[in-house]
């Protein structure tokens, strides 16, 4: 047997080797383009689904966050508008009479202000600083009490001292 032929096909080939070569020649490597099966391509496409799901979740989360922020902003604007409404005038000071303002009723406060969006947040606000609605209500209350007290005392004074007009007139004359 010529071993050189087995190494580098030089020399004379052995007949038995040639026969084997012809038999196995059909199985020899033939360079050609690799064609993947269709099923394999579909599998690759399916691998993108988790990424798409993650991206969609992120988009939804960001959208929800933006919506919440805009809602909070709107709520803050409503609260600010309410508190800037005209407040009751200061107690019967002469300067106050010169102003021509109409005090709006505290009942005209929009009901949205009383509705809090977050229970925890509402509790925190109440404990930290009094709500602006409460401060406005307090001012209204003080105005009402002032007027009530003033008129009661006026009635009491007129009852106890009916001749106050005479005294006042005497004072003017004197």
């Amino acid at each position: 047997m010529n071993e050189e032929y087995l190494w580098d096909k030089s020399g004379e080939p052995d007949s038995e080797i040639q026969e084997l070569e012809e038999t196995l020649g059909s199985l020899r490597h033939q360079p050609k383009r690799l064609d993947l099966p269709a099923n394999n391509q579909e599998t690759n496409r399916r691998s993108y689904i988790p990424l798409v799901a993650i991206a969609a979740t992120l988009v939804i989360a960001v959208s929800a966050g933006l919506f919440w922020l805009s809602y909070r902003h709107n709520q803050h604007q409503i609260l600010t508008t309410t508190t800037t409404a005209p407040v009751a005038p200061t107690p019967t000071i002469p300067e106050a009479k010169q102003t021509n303002e109409v005090v709006k009723s505290a009942e005209t406060i929009p009901p949205q202000v009383a509705v809090a969006t977050n229970r925890h947040r509402r509790t925190m606000t109440k404990t930290a600083t009094p709500s602006k609605e409460a401060v406005l209500a307090k001012e209204q209350l003080m105005t009402a009490l002032r007027l009530a007290s003033e008129k009661l005392n006026l009635a009491q004074r007129k009852t106890q001292n009916p001749s106050v007009n005479q005294i006042r007139n005497q004072h003017k004359l004197g």
Binding site: P89, Q140, M142
Partner: protein, 191 residues
Amino acid sequence: MKSLFRIFLRTPALVALFLIAPAVTVRAQDPRIQLSHLDHLATRASQTVDVSVDERLIQLAAKVFNDKDEDEAQIKKLVSGLKGIYVKSFEFDNENEYSAADLDTIKSQLREPAWSRLVNVTSKREGNVEVYVSLVGGTVNGLTVLSAEPKELTVVNIVGPVDLEKLAKLEGSLGIPDLGIKSTKKPKDEQ
């Protein structure tokens, strides 16, 4: 048959009476009076004070009062049981801007037995001041002060148990100016 007809006719009437009577009684005991009839005066007035504080707002405002402050604690105690305070006050540049009919709309709601007139001071020069109280079981359940001066008309309606003495003493505290109405009243610092 006739008696059966009477029974059928009488029963709904009695049921209606039982249903309506408590509602009418409650309405009669409600010391809140309607002040909306005076709203048209706002166009003529140089200054209008319109305060409408219901029970919810009173409770809300009560939380703002500082308990450590003596004056605020006193006011908080005074308003704690109230169900509403309603005030309409109009100041005019000229006299005779409001009519007797305007006063009648208020006075017509302040009749006995629901209301008792406590004070009635009449003065041609300074106008009239009337104080009405609503009494239920011997306790004051409501207060209405009607002050009709030549250039000013004020109606104060307080709904709920109110201490008149404490209310009168409020003047001079918490930014409420002491007008020195009572000659015997001493300033707060001297007390």
